[in-house]
């Protein structure tokens, strides 16, 4: 299987592209530039994407290793009509965004957490975001955002799954 599913669409990387890191492939070949490059060594978390439901540092994994898998990037989080996923909405409403460079990675790590654990406490949220650096916010409003998103999705019975996967919407 030589296919990679990105935000619900299938791609067949060329032989040359197979050797690229997933981050470079997403940014340079698919022009999905919401996935950021902050350190290129898996230390800052700005390149985080969600692969088969789990967070992955896309700068430390090759395209080849991800063949046959389903990848969600920040661009896949919103719904097809352009409306935001509750996690994205909560980041806005909680004041969790300043420079915004960590935001895509933070949203993706939060998404992976809420897929796994729909009602995490603040300690669990902090642990899940430990791999994502933020130099602006001090993390508090990011934790607020994940808590808020979790509450809203449970109260309004909204699916956690990424917007690009919600075909019936």
């Amino acid at each position: 299987m030589n296919t990679l599913t990105i935000n619900g669409a299938d791609y067949e990387p060329s032989d040359e592209e197979l050797g690229l890191t997933l981050m470079r492939y997403l940014r340079e070949k698919r022009f999905l530039r919401g996935t950021k490059n902050g350190c290129e060594q898996g230390l800052c978390g700005t390149c985080t994407v969600v692969v088969d439901g789990k967070p992955l540092r896309s700068c430390r994994s090759s395209v080849e290793k991800n063949l046959g898998k389903s990848i969600i990037t920040i661009e896949g989080m919103e719904y097809p009509d352009g409306s935001l996923h509750p996690i994205q909405r909560a980041f806005l409403d909680s004041g969790a965004v300043q420079c915004g460079f960590c935001t895509p990675g933070m949203v993706m790590s939060s998404y992976a957490l809420l897929l796994r654990e729909p009602a995490p406490d603040r300690e669990a949220i902090r642990k899940a975001l430990r791999g994502n650096l933020c130099r602006c916010t001090g993390y508090q409003q990011i934790v607020d955002a994940v808590e808020l998103a979790s509450r809203i999705m449970r109260e309004q019975d909204l699916p956690v799954e990424a917007g690009c996967l919600a075909h019936d919407r």
Binding site: L43, E75, S94, Q98, R126, G131, Q140
Partner: protein, 752 residues
Amino acid sequence: MTAEKAFRNDGYAKVSGRAAYADDFSVAGMLHMVPVYAEYVSAKNLRVHTEAALASPGCVRVITAKDVPGRTHFGQIEKDYPIIAVDRVRSYGDVCALVLAETRDQALAAAALVRVEAEPLKPVLTVEEALNPYAPVVPGYGDTNIVVEHKLRKGDPDAAFAGCELILEEEFHTQTIEQAYLEPEAALCVPRHDGVIEVYGSMQHPFSTRRFSAALLGEPLSNIEVYTIAVGGGFGGKDDTAACVCARAALGARLTGRPVKMTYDRAWSFRESYKRHPYTLKYKVGVTSEGRVMAVKATMYADSGAYLSVSPWVTWRSTAQCFGPYSVDNVHADVYAVATNNIFNGAMRGFGAPQVNFAVESLMDMIAAELKIHPLGLRRINMVKQDSLTVTGQKLDKHVVSMEEVMNRVVHDIGYRKKYEQCSFGKAEGDELYGIGLAISYRGASLGAEGMDFCSCILNGQYDGSLLLETGIHENGQGSESAMILILAEALGCDQKRIRYRRPSTSNVPDSGTTVATRGTIMGGSAVMAAVAEFKALLSAHLAERLRCKPDEVNFHDDKIWGLNYEYSLSWEEAMRELYLQRVTPYAFGSFKAPDVSWDDTNGQGDAYFTFVYSCQAVELSVEKKTGKVKLLNIVAAHDIGKAINRAMLLGQIYGGITQAVGMALMEDFKLEEGKPVAHNFDGYILPRSTDLPPMTGIIVENHDPASLTGAKGIGEPAIELLAPAIANAVYNATGIRAKSLPIKLNPEDLA
């Protein structure tokens, strides 16, 4: 604390991944540029051999100093910083060639083939070495390594020491700190058909970027147009070096006629970019038995590194604020910046205050302990009050001096008095020692006597009732554009949806200085208010007749423009249409000049700043005896920022500043060995992570400031400048160990 809904004009773009930072832009035909480092810490007779690189596949050009049409060296104060090094290498961050190729991989491969030769010189690596009269002189522009010397002379400390009950002499050290913005430096420069080079850069000072670029190209400022794009953090760190990255890409674009992108990796960013100055601070303080500080002598040395950058300004703030928010009659301070061959040091959020506050607020608790006075009482006795004189002889009579109010708010909120009694002071039954600590500060708002301080704003009303707003303040991620929109919407009484912040360009809005020094809200907001006054006067003059009133009776609220007694009104759509029919352009330009300040270089006396922000932060922590590990439990901060504009963003600044201060207190240390950085990435340079922070509470105190046309001051830097000493004091109250250097490292043996 539950967050309130925040407003950000760039919020949707940033949460959706659409916000484009410098490296996210691509242009057809774009070349990639990478730097070549000189690989010496100090050397002369630099020779750069480019033949092999040029022959490498895809390599288009290798630029060295001989290709530079303008100045190879530039700087904000002294023009000593090599955009491209010539002959002499002064630091490990010096760049001597720029390689351009069709792809980044090709550029990297070619850059590895550039051969650099030079005759190494003995580097000067510490301030002590640099002060030795026989040490090599590092700067190219002078004959000494002492590159800055500020002094402050008030009263007669020597005479006053004689009458003191307690004289304390202490020395403190602070470390080198990397700003560690998450987006490394990057630039895309595009040559335009009319001869202008367009710059899309990750930088925090478009006008400085333009000056660096124009200087390197040897062209007028009008030939370079720098646009604001999303910037992944700056914290003071994206000026000189980030401007250089843009300037180099601009040169590449000029010399090849093609668009050029230059994107830094983390190792280059760490290696080349300036840091926060490490300080050595020596204090002698004389106190009466009642706790009144009678006399202070302070001597400070800041390592400027190889280039001057803004060292004179950083150390000036250390001078003007040399003894914290305390009123003392007899003060002598001597503050030096000293050149070495280390990576240079420049602006970082806090700018010469966090170092001084660490020493002063530690000293206050040390004095309290010696005299057995409560630390809060000692602060109360000495702190500035309404109409107090500062150490620079400035009378604080033009704004509300809220130092005591701010401290009381924190003390009350966190329950300081009771918790202080519960501190372990080195003795605990179990494995954990508990401590609470606090610090206070005041911070001169904006530049003060450091520089020319003015800002402008353009309001461009559209004939459909929408409004374009632009100011000379730059969006670094802090939310300045959103704050300006909120200020304008409130002042015009209109729906904020009418307002679009125009993407600023250096070819449109006039140079309004740097977005630094916590001056964005106070200066930019005041400029907006100045433009609003012009705009309202214009609209009133032309709409009064339609509104059946006199021009001075026209008013603006509820998204409409009104005459007297609510009888007649115009929607913004109608009002703008009316102006069109009268052939009047609904356009206003506003400019705000900071109130006068003064400074006498000979004695360091004067009205240093036109207003001050008052702050207090307290922290609770525990120390594990077995390991010496510090765990933060709770942090409360209060700041009198005049007036809140965007509450959630204000709190975000407070939490973020606190977190950077946690890094300063406990983790961050940018070590150099033989002038070379030890860390190349975030595995070697440790930043606070989500699990390192306790719950934080931000208390906003609002005494509207008459010097600001909105009443608002600012928060960026006050938030970072005082938690490190609060942590040091809490660590002492937990362990009985006084940390005099940062970051704080506790030995388990000392805790047994």
